[in-house]
């Protein structure tokens, strides 16, 4: 597409790096919420281009990474039940539960299919009327409309053998949880561009005001990331804390009204447990009771239970930005993408996997 490759222009990258170096006079910590942005920062070597005073803190924005262990175990248990086909995104299938991942369960005979879209899961349900098809609906606000749409379509088609197991998390409550944690120090945020594509920018004004942090809605290309960082730093150096939109070619102030409407129809806000972080009030979605026939939790009477994490995994501290992946004793040793101890090593957007794949740790180890 026109105006896509331009956002990867090397000379412009260098120009923004130069501007950032010129601008910065003090140490600042900026959190990028979204795992896609973490991936972009590491993959493009942007972390190494920034001045020493600028620390990028990698946020909890990888939905499969924060999906609680007990939910993965629930999904696996469903997949072993005769008559059920469990479906989900590829990323989700690789995350280890307490005994195995969904992918390992599949190898052991559980009926699991990877799908590209929840609407594909719906098609599987149409083709298999004698089976129950459960879609493990994981995601942030970005994915919520597509997941909600699958429920709306199932209802419109009178498809009663389809349901979703939700693991839906929301960004603004997580930002508040991070900002209220006395241990963390985050001076400014890059807000996740595609989350804001759906939800718009309104939710971020009270956060910027209350915690006096600049929040810049940012895209995913190298130039987007650098402009987002530059604009955040400009505010920090000037002592201001506004909500700004770097990603105006995609994000509208009010978000996508059709998407918000469909979310409002199918989901209600609920408290959610984030893997490694704990419960955050009002930080997720559950299926509204109007659509309870499509809620796998109700349909299959799933209970709630706590499952302990691997004792040596520091995923919680990494997701809160308190420690970097390389500070973990198991990083690259007992924990690799092939044999992950925790979720951030699984998804390519998890901070641990991003560091592992792009060998960022080499520099960080040398520089402390």
């Amino acid at each position: 597409m026109k105006y896509l490759t331009e956002y990867r222009d090397v000379a412009l990258v260098q120009e923004y790096v130069r501007r950032i170096h010129q601008l910065v006079t003090k140490p600042w910590s900026i959190m990028e919420i979204c795992g896609g942005q973490t991936h972009g920062l590491v993959k493009n070597g942007i972390l190494e281009m920034l001045p020493e005073q600028v620390t990028m803190v990698h946020g909890p924005g990888c939905p499969v990474c924060v999906t609680p262990l007990h939910l993965i175990d629930d999904a696996i248990a469903l997949a072993y039940q005769p008559g059920i086909i469990l479906t989900s995104f590829g990323d989700m299938l690789r995350v280890p539960g307490s005994k195995e991942s969904l992918l390992e369960a599949k190898a052991n005979g559980a009926n699991i299919q990877m799908v590209y879209s929840p609407l594909d899961a719906l098609k599987i349900a149409q083709k298999n009327p004698d089976k129950e098809v459960v879609f493990f609906a994981v995601g942030f606000e970005t994915t919520a409309p597509a997941n909600a749409l699958s429920v709306i379509q199932a209802a419109a088609l009178d498809l009663n053998n389809y349901s979703i197991l939700t693991s839906h998390v929301l960004v603004p409550p997580a930002m508040e949880a991070i900002l209220s944690d006395p241990e963390t120090r985050v001076d400014g945020f890059l807000a996740a561009g595609h989350v804001c594509t759906i939800m718009g920018m309104e939710e971020y004004y009270p956060i910027a005001e209350k915690y006096r942090v600049p929040i810049v809605v940012t895209g995913f290309e190298p130039i987007d990331l650098l402009i987002g960082i530059y604009e955040t730093l400009k505010q920090l150096e000037a002592g201001s804390y506004q909500v700004d939109n770097q990603y105006a070619r995609v994000v509208q102030f009010g978000g996508n009204p059709q998407a918000k409407e469909i979310i409002g129809k199918v989901f209600i806000t609920s408290d959610r447990i984030w893997r490694g972080i704990g419960e955050i009030p009002g930080s997720g979605y559950e299926v509204d009771q109007d659509f309870s026939g499509y809620d796998a939790r109700i349909k299959f009477a799933l209970g709630h239970r706590e499952v302990p994490e691997h004792p040596e995994c520091i995923a919680g501290q990494i997701l809160k930005g308190l420690r970097k992946p390389i500070h973990c004793g198991q990083f690259g040793k007992g924990c690799t993408p092939e044999h992950p101890l925790g979720a951030p090593m699984v998804s390519s957007e998890g901070a641990c996997a991003a560091y592992y794949h792009f060998a960022q740790m080499k520099n960080e180890t040398i520089n402390g």
């Binding site: 597409m1 120009e15 130069r18 994915t143 130039i223 070619r249 995609v250 994000v251």
Partner: protein
């Protein structure tokens, strides 16, 4: 996970009601069936951002161009800097 890819609408295939508005979207030549119910105004030849099979936004070419021109304007220094492809930067 929140990855969304821009593609060009090449056909509107079904338009039964809001939830079923679908079309063909080309991603650099690879064509996929895409749900278009969240971009009711999008037409053939528009660029949309697609996430898990659903178009979530029309990419605003004017805004894309504006940002790009801004970048170009401050890119006067390009000449000074010269084309120095850095490894790791695409």
């Amino acid at each position: 996970m929140c990855l969304a890819i821009p593609g060009k609408i090449t056909a509107i295939t079904e338009h039964l009601d809001g939830a079923f508005r679908t079309g063909k979207v080309s991603f650099g030549g690879i064509v996929r069936d895409t749900n278009l119910s969240m971009v009711p105004d999008a037409q053939i030849d528009d660029y949309v951002l697609v996430h898990v099979g659903v178009a979530i936004s029309v990419v605003d070419e004017d805004e894309a161009r504006k940002t790009f021109e801004l970048l170009k304007a401050m890119g006067e220094l390009e000449e000074e800097l010269g084309p120095d492809p850095k490894p790791g930067v695409e």
